[in-house]
Subunit: 471 residues, 2 copies
Amino acid sequence: MPPMSCRHLYRPGTIALAWVLGTVALATSWATARAPGDENWLDAYRGPASRIIGSALVSTLAWDRLAELTDEFGPRLSGSPQLENAILWALDRMKKDGLENVHAEKVMVPHWVRGTESAEVVRPVSLQMPMLGLGGSIGTDKEGIEAETLVVRSFAELDAAGERARGKIVVYNVAYESYGRTVQYRAAGASRAARLGARAVLLRSVGLPGLRTPHTGALSYTGQDPKIPAAAISLEDAEMLQRIQDRGQSAVVRLKMEAHFLEDAESANVIGELRGREKPEEVVVVAGHFDSWDVGTGAVDDGGGCIAAWTVLKVLKDLDLRPRRTIRVVLFTNEENGMRGGYAYRDAHKDELANHVMMLESDSGTFRPSGFGLSANERARATVREIASLLDAIGVSKIEDSGGGADISPSVRAGRIPSMSLEVDESRYFLYHHTPADTVDKLNPMDMALGVAAVGVMSYVIADMPGRLGQ
Amino acid sequence: MPPMSCRHLYRPGTIALAWVLGTVALATSWATARAPGDENWLDAYRGPASRIIGSALVSTLAWDRLAELTDEFGPRLSGSPQLENAILWALDRMKKDGLENVHAEKVMVPHWVRGTESAEVVRPVSLQMPMLGLGGSIGTDKEGIEAETLVVRSFAELDAAGERARGKIVVYNVAYESYGRTVQYRAAGASRAARLGARAVLLRSVGLPGLRTPHTGALSYTGQDPKIPAAAISLEDAEMLQRIQDRGQSAVVRLKMEAHFLEDAESANVIGELRGREKPEEVVVVAGHFDSWDVGTGAVDDGGGCIAAWTVLKVLKDLDLRPRRTIRVVLFTNEENGMRGGYAYRDAHKDELANHVMMLESDSGTFRPSGFGLSANERARATVREIASLLDAIGVSKIEDSGGGADISPSVRAGRIPSMSLEVDESRYFLYHHTPADTVDKLNPMDMALGVAAVGVMSYVIADMPGRLGQ
């Protein structure tokens, strides 16, 4: 019974003495904090790291707050009142959390509206297909477009079909390889087909096999080609249209879309800070994007990333851990269909970018974290690896070869700023991505808390250590 | 190099001799076929079984035909032209396959029509919820029903709420335990809530967690309670409404449904046979149900079961394996919302039920088969176990304690007929069940071919063996 035999060690007097000694030791170690490269410099951060991890993992605050955000405001597409109401809520809550310099930075954003939409097979069978218009697509006229389909498995097949595409609804039945490879059909498919005289485009959704689940996402029209409507359908229906064509039959589809643009709308990036105690002008940014598509409630993409980053500041504030440099949370607007928030931040802060020590974005879903992606010099990489060793025990210490995020990238490029991403188990990310199933239940409180703990320790140490990251 | 050293064994002359000897042996064994209980009686069936298995597994016919059915006719709800067109197609194809006594047996079926429908949260957030009206539900008036929600996790919670249910839309947020246990909320939930004055019911879908996927299915109103509209919503939205209530807020939902019944419509059970060579009046039935819900294309539930059963007869016919007794395929109509096909078969064949040796239904999806369920006496069970040993190598030899199917059950009960089911890997069945995702891609050709092989061997031996099963 070892606990009993050791009991005398824990007499009140002993505890008080240990506490005093510990505090003195901690103060001493802080006062003499050494820079990376010095032996044992990291020891000074074991105490703060354990407090950050403990505080993050003792509550389900991040998940609860994400549930509140998504339940009460729902989808947050650029231009929607839901997004603007959510922004007001975030500003209010950040102030209540005690964050500093809480403010909104105005950004004008595109205002695309989906409207009512449908796609139905009218021959050989009468069948409604679950569909989602692609973001930025034009609509059809009221009667819709009714045309035979031409199914292709690649741009090469489309180009080989040539004139046969004229007057048709082109169906891209492209198997999902990876988001990076397959998304080109969503981005460029409409204009490529329009060039050959197609009337509209249906896209097999870019994502993992689901439950007849369409995935939306942005397209971009070229300047040269006619604009034609484009929508995502499910893997199941793309394969069905393929089989019908392969049997030598023709399928006819009717597509109706009310999609259109309104005038640009006013939105904002939301900012809150924990001001640095010694070098407040030097900034570590932790970020996510607050806008979402209009079909799910944007919990995975990217409400979770926003709430996790924000919660990091709340945890540090509550622990009274004020680092040497400023830690700033940025909730970017309009990542999904314009990236205006990312550009606006770069422009509004251009004189300050040289003082950005590091920028971190979490936009892969706050699933179980595994580590960080990092784009920086070798000196920074060595430091980040050392810091990550504090996260070994919670399994978040893997450092990948590159890191960053869409919203921070304009600033990162302009200011040559070290950039990081929170790396997570992405295995289900592209199952939910841009679908109605992007809801808070797909994430779990412990995974989110681990993300808060990991980003908390990493950003705190980088913001607090004597030398600047990478220098 | 063993193959080379053995090559002399395969000289043409040797092969011819082996073939003659084999044929003689086979003929002898057939001529002296022994009944179950006799030693080695099964040996006579090793040859036919290997031919059935080989024939089933050398082609993807069953899957291809299921794709054709579902692609060309789509959903097949009772009363729909799609179902009736599919029935005509099946009759035509069965005749072309060379089946005998191919005919339709008229059945009048309920004709429920879903119409346009929607459910949206109007407070605290404006949010469309994916939904499916429950089969048999009444509709709302044109403006719909707008009311506060009362979320309950069980009938006990509903009853405890008592008067608080009056005027509300009751949301059954019941975690899925098993289909058998949880489906009671779908069946009886509307009337239970109406009894307390509720205006409508939303049901957390009875099925596995999906992608914001509602599952439809039939409800049944009691005679006593007012009829109120009822619809299924997703797990995600039921949980959201629960969280809102748990926070002490109220949610308001607007439900619109055009659902209504038309006059009963004419449909039919489809029948085809391989007439017995000695006892054609004795019948082994293999069956599935041909109707489906109106939201998917009814591949898993239960196009696959129908096509598998039908393909068994085609395989036997093509192999010229005509058993002693008749094997009959029955494609039942109206399993989903009325069971009229099953009752009609019982009534139309009542004088013949005593001659039904065994009835088998496949209605758990034609996923990877593992064996059979069997409800019969011990003598029958021993025989079925012996027959199943021929399916050991393809992994389909497990015999479960009970077996049958909804459509065959009226006949089975009336005629005290041994009944069987094809048992399969059901792990994904309730992911797709009654959803738009019930499509042919969820099944694979090899699993279906294995099902055909297994049902083929089982039904052939039972139909051919000298003694009647269980006697």
